[in-house]
């Protein structure tokens, strides 16, 4: 399976912060509440959490991209 990477669409993201809640290992929030994503592919152990975070994002700003 191709390595998935997290991406956030900067215009769609409205700083709801759910992603940091559900995937703290890979997402921290800046002082304004916007996500800062860890570099690199999502490790296998975090894949299901990553998918949950993507599904929970209310604005569909968070995506998993395989490359």
């Amino acid at each position: 399976m191709a390595a998935d990477r997290l991406k956030v669409g900067p215009i769609m993201c409205h700083a709801h912060g759910l992603c940091a809640e559900l995937l703290p290992e890979m997402v921290r929030l800046d002082e304004w509440g916007y996500p800062i994503l860890a570099d690199g592919p999502v490790p296998p152990v975090l894949r299901s959490d990553a998918r949950a975070a993507v599904a929970a994002c209310p604005t569909l700003a968070l995506r998993l991209r395989s490359d």
């Binding site: 900067p10 215009i11 769609m12 700083a15 800046d30 002082e31 304004w32 509440g33 916007y34």
Partner: protein
């Protein structure tokens, strides 16, 4: 600075784009243009791209991206293709595109025709600011040209800094909304009205017009291996003759300032690249060749090829704070790190300028903020502002420390040197 201000200046050093102007002192009409350069060469698209590739031409709109790579990407696109010539020149520190369009419009229009041939486009758009005086010049220049060319439409773009960023330009030309969009897809794949679109700066296109006629070897007779050719440069600040000059890339910065009459008083630093550029310390800048590679080596960039000479009796921190406020106000307000980050960074820099950071808390907070903002907007606008702020902290480090000690700064309230309008 208008083209007419620049028109009072002495001839440039090794003019190519401005050769007609340098020799005749007159705006080049189509008849004179044809006499000087002859007709458009009959190269086909692939040959043109090959020539531009060998010339090593890099974009003159700010990022310095290899032009042939973009031509190829658009040529490989599906469906009908479009060429957009970016003549908006949104950066207040730059006047070179306006000068070029005023003095040698037919080189740009030739470049548009050749670029259209290279990518297989059957329409083109030349974009300038709303209400620009260039609209009349360009409409007249277009009327003077023969038939049988790809039609070129003049488009007006709002006078906002970010509106001429390429995705914003494409968005504006498609929907009337001059705000950037998330890329990918890049314009080369999905641009104006969904079509593969070449967005090139007007100066880039003018160089294509010369490369097509004289060849890549000729183009490389000026400049360096990685920064070949000549470039237009806007020189401002404390020099005798501020204006637009054409230089060989690789010319030392001190020689560029000398071309503009030289400093009129002792200098402390040189701002490079336009407002989203950076700062160069002196005397280092004096000897630095004006190239992409040398600018990158000191975490700066040529950007829009502007230089502003900052005199000793000025405050680099206060200048930077003022420009950061302008850039924050010009944010399109779509992406959090830009719409909240830039005002925060501008506030921090203003605190440093006022000497109100006795504990050093603000400078540390500013460093942290500069570390997290870049790369997180839809467009590169915040990255430019951060580069300028980071450059200021490096180049004016001694001033930051002095302000923090509360030593009075004589120049904080001095009149501005960097233009913001």
């Amino acid at each position: 600075m208008t083209a007419l201000d620049a028109a009072r200046l002495p001839p440039t050093d090794h003019p190519r784009l401005l050769a007609g102007w340098a020799e005749t002192g007159a705006i080049t009409r189509y008849s004179g243009h044809r006499r000087r350069y002859g007709p458009l060469p009959g190269l086909d698209g692939p040959r043109l791209i090959e020539l531009v590739s060998r010339s090593g031409l890099r974009g003159r709109g700010g990022a310095g991206f290899p032009t042939a790579r973009k031509l190829r990407a658009v040529a490989d696109g599906r469906g009908r293709r479009i060429v957009v010539a970016n003549g908006c020149e949104g950066d207040p520190a730059s006047a070179k595109d306006g000068v070029l369009l005023e003095l040698a419009p037919h080189l740009v229009l030739d470049g548009i025709q050749l670029a259209a041939r290279a990518v297989g486009a059957n329409e083109a758009i030349l974009a300038v600011h709303t209400g620009s005086r260039l609209l009349r010049t360009l409409a007249a220049a277009l009327r003077d040209r023969g038939t049988g060319e790809v039609p070129v439409e003049l488009a007006e773009v709002p006078r906002r800094y970010v509106a001429s960023e390429e995705s914003a330009l494409v968005n504006h030309l498609t929907s009337g909304d001059a705000r950037p969009t998330v890329t990918p897809p890049r314009p080369a794949r999905r641009g104006v009205r969904g079509r593969p679109t070449l967005v090139d700066n007007v100066e880039t296109l003018a160089h294509i017009a010369l490369i097509a006629r004289h060849g890549d070897g000729w183009f490389r007779e000026a400049g360096t291996r990685d920064s070949p050719g000549t470039t237009l440069v806007t020189v401002g600040g404390a020099v005798a003759l501020p204006g637009v000059y054409e230089i060989d890339l690789g010319m030392p910065v001190a020689a560029v300032l000398a071309l503009a009459g030289g400093p009129v008083e002792p200098l402390q630093a040189v701002q490079i690249g336009g407002l989203g550029g950076s700062w160069l310390p002196l005397p280092y800048a004096d000897g630095m060749p004006f190239t992409h590679e040398d600018a990158r080596a000191v975490e700066a960039g040529l950007g829009v090829a502007a230089l502003v000479a900052l005199p000793v009796r000025a405050c680099g921190i206060a200048e930077t704070a003022r420009v950061l406020r302008y850039l924050a106000d010009e944010s399109a307000g779509q992406c959090g790190p830009c719409m909240f980050g830039l005002p925060a960074v501008a506030d921090d820099m203003a605190v440093l300028a006022d000497g109100a950071d006795r504990s050093g808390v603000v400078v540390r907070r500013l460093q942290e903020r500069l570390g997290v903002i870049p790369g997180r907007g839809a467009c590169a606008h915040p990255d430019g502002a951060v580069r300028l702020a980071a450059g200021a902290l490096r180049v004016f480090a001694a001033d930051v420390a002095r302000h923090a000690r509360g030593d009075s700064c004589t120049w904080t309230g001095a009149p501005p040197w960097l233009p913001t309008a």
